[in-house]
């Protein structure tokens, strides 16, 4: 018995020592990062596809050099970056400058770890209102968009010609469904998109949801249900493949790139791949239910400056942000990222260089931020039930109305 009690005692003692050790460790590391890091600044972005030798990597380094410091860049997976940032902020070693996906901005603001652009003295007046909207909470903006992307419909010219469909005739949902039917009867596949149960699925569903006039605070309205019924009809009739439920936007693109599909809902960032796909393609804006262009969600990242203990660092951080988002640098950056620039001046330059971007510029002009309109951190609690509803309806486990009712219930609980 005695040995057992002793072991227990020892264990308690050991845990106690360790806990105090880790506490010390945490404390010292945070004071390190604010104190001794004179000439070295940290920068995080969600572009692991670009290494230090890429145009983007070089731009980041040069912006650091211009600001007179060494900028240490770390690239994370985009889905990972938000949580990494929260953890880092908790430990007191958030990066000096961070590029994050736009819907994450409101979460980070809620966590209280981002500085207002006005406090830093950054000028955001030239940025288009709807693009900076995703990073604007209570009339204060918390970041500068580096660029925007959004969704449109790519179409395969050869298939549409063979099926006798004029892409110009696709003006609303009915004409689009009619076109899909024609393609189907010509022995080709209709449309592919991503309805996966992640944020990507919500991103892809939103143009249809908003195109029907849907309101995110009321998922189960007739308009929201109409959008879901449209997708369900396509899957049920075989106009869209069943595996849209598993498709990420990348796999959905791969399906479209096989050349078997007439339409693919995808983003600006696939333009480079589209040129490599080996067939003629065109782009139309996603139609609204009764015609016109549907509002599409903005994608793209914001340059943000996380809160630091040592506020003296902000001057350099501001220089870095200004450098990254200057008109001269936005043009090559957004060309590399295949994004639409957030300012009218640079957009005009982009279209001059590449006329194919024109439909994208108009799509971005009509786009809205997912977290805009005062939704902020409510958006994630709506988006998750929404993508679950899309999955439930498309897989046939619930009717669109029931699925949206359940989603509204879950979103209401927050």
């Amino acid at each position: 018995m005695i040995p057992t009690r002793l072991t227990l005692l020892a264990a308690v003692a050991a845990v106690g020592t360790l806990a105090s050790l880790t506490a010390c460790g945490g404390g010292s590391s945070s004071s390190d990062s604010s104190g001794s890091a004179g000439g070295s600044y940290t920068f995080w972005d969600p572009y692991p596809q670009f290494d230090a030798s890429s145009a983007w990597g070089k731009l980041v380094t040069s912006c650091g050099t211009k600001a007179g410091v060494k900028l240490k860049r770390t690239a994370y997976d985009t889905t990972d970056l938000g949580n990494k940032a929260l953890l880092a902020a908790q430990q007191g070693n958030a990066p000096d400058v961070m590029l994050v996906d736009n819907p994450v901005v409101s979460t980070l603001v809620e966590a209280g770890i981002l500085n207002k652009t006005s406090d830093l003295g950054l000028d955001t007046s030239s940025i288009q209102k709807n693009i900076i909207g995703a990073g604007t909470i209570d009339n204060a903006s918390y970041g500068v968009p580096i660029g925007a992307n959004t969704l449109a419909l790519y179409y395969n010219k050869k298939i549409l010609t063979a099926a006798g469909v004029d892409p110009a005739s696709v003006k609303d949902w009915n004409s689009l469904t009619a076109a899909l039917k024609k393609v189907e009867s010509a022995g080709k596949k209709g449309i592919t998109f991503s309805a996966i149960n992640t944020e990507e699925g919500s991103f892809q569903f939103l143009p249809w949801f908003w195109g029907a006039g849907g309101d995110l605070t009321k998922l189960n309205s007739a308009k929201g249900v109409a959008a879901l019924s449209l997708w369900k009809q396509w899957v049920d009739e075989g106009y869209a493949p069943k595996d849209v439920l598993q498709n990420t936007q990348t796999t959905s693109w791969q399906e479209f790139a096989t050349g078997d599909y007439a339409f693919g809902e995808n983003g600006t960032w696939q333009l480079g791949n589209a040129d490599k796909a080996g067939f003629d393609y065109g782009i139309i804006n996603i139609p609204g239910q009764n015609g016109g262009s549907a509002p599409v969600p903005t994608g793209g990242e914001f340059v943000t400056v996380p809160v630091q203990k040592d506020t003296g660092r902000y001057d350099v951080s501001k220089k870095i942000v200004t450098c990254l988002t200057s008109d001269a640098n936005l043009l090559p950056t957004d060309t590399t990222l295949q994004y639409v620039a957030p300012t009218a001046a640079v957009q005009a330059e982009q279209v001059k260089q590449n006329p194919k971007l024109k439909p994208w510029v108009s799509a971005v002009a009509a786009a809205r931020g997912r977290t805009s309109g005062g939704l902020g951190t409510k958006y994630p609690t709506i988006s998750q039930p929404m993508w679950t509803a899309v999955q439930a309806a498309l897989s046939g486990s619930k009717s669109p109305q029931d699925a949206m009712d359940a989603a509204q219930d879950a979103a209401g609980k927050g």
Partner: protein
């Protein structure tokens, strides 16, 4: 316990002898007295302290990598964490609120059911197939070692590779499984896209991954069964089935028990396979407690750490119950 005590006494003797031998020339008794007076520790206490010093690294390791995370997880699940209080570290204590939220969630029932079905069906098949293969390979025919090695492949492949491959094979549009079925005139099945099939598909993949583990452990258990038993049984006229039922299976009982328990704990917490193949979908038709916990904590733009940790703790609790059950069964077997 008893054995350890005995070994302890043996060490005592050995140490005393060594001490006596080494110091015999320079009068051992005053020396020992000096130690006792000077430090004030009896030899037995000193030995305990020495033993403890040896234990400390292990205890430190256990504390840092097991106890502390467990404590943190419990703490997360008992506090009302928002992103703000997570960063500031001032989340208010909220008692069982997170657990209540989780239990009231409409996802809880299905997730619990899927976890149980996933676990028990997986283990049943893994064990039976593993046992059959082990008995088969125990017959030492030519190529047996090679074939057995081949069966280990699922174990060697990184899970991301095997799960992605299964996901590709089960694809409803271009998957090889549907392509194969097509030759028999079977309509394509939405393996991962139909709520009726998604859970089955991930179970099939998980069974495939789990067979090698069962095969290896049971096979090594078979090696320990003396061959004479089979010879004697054969002389008594026992057929293959009777030999298996009366000798192999009963003698494998301890090995089977540990295989099943380990399988249970491993399978309860399977996350990566399901996440890669279906992300718990479509809807929540293949979500288990493990995937749901991740979904809550990391799957959305706004993490819900509290409820996520609560689900994780429920999962730990279930594993613990089965672990205790195993210990009880084992005690009764030994008694």
């Amino acid at each position: 316990m008893r054995r350890r005590m005995r070994r302890g006494r043996g060490e005592t003797v050995a140490v005393n002898l060594r001490a006596g031998g080494g110091l015999s020339r320079s009068s051992p008794r005053p020396y020992r007295g000096a130690v006792q007076q000077g430090v004030g520790l009896s030899p037995s206490l000193r030995r305990r302290l020495t033993a403890l010093a040896f234990l400390l690294p292990l205890l430190g390791y256990l504390g840092a990598f097991y106890l502390y995370p467990l404590y943190r997880n419990l703490d997360l699940s008992l506090r009302d964490y928002t992103v703000r209080s997570f960063v500031a570290g001032d989340a208010p204590f909220s008692g069982w609120d997170n657990f209540r939220t989780v239990l009231d969630d409409p996802t809880f029932g299905p997730a619990m059911r899927h976890t149980m079905v996933f676990t028990f069906v997986s283990i049943a098949f893994q064990y039976v197939i593993g046992l059959a293969l082990a008995v088969f390979f125990n017959r030492h025919f030519r190529l047996a070692p090679t074939l057995r090695a081949l069966f280990l492949i699922p174990w060697l492949l990184p899970l991301i590779v095997s799960a992605s491959t299964w996901s590709w094979m089960f694809n409803s549009e271009s998957g090889v499984v549907n392509y194969f079925l097509h030759f028999f005139g079977v309509d394509p099945v939405g393996w991962l896209t139909s709520p009726d099939w998604a859970l089955t598909s991930v179970i099939v993949a998980n069974i495939w991954i789990g067979i090698p583990f069962n095969l290896v452990i049971i096979y090594s258990g078979l090696q320990n069964i003396p061959g004479e038993l089979y010879e004697a049984a054969a002389l008594d006229g026992a057929g293959a089935w009777q030999q298996f039922r009366r000798i192999t299976f009963p003698l494998l009982r301890p090995v089977s028990a540990i295989t099943l328990l380990l399988g249970l704990v491993y399978t309860l917490k399977v996350f990566d396979l399901i996440w890669i193949m279906t992300k718990g979908g479509p809807g929540d038709s293949s979500s288990t407690l493990a995937t749901w916990s991740y979904q809550l904590g990391f799957g959305t733009l706004l993490p819900k750490f509290g409820p996520g940790a609560a689900v994780g703790n429920i999962l730990i609790l279930i594993a613990l119950v089965f672990g205790l059950l195993y210990i009880r069964v084992q005690r009764r077997q030994e008694a």
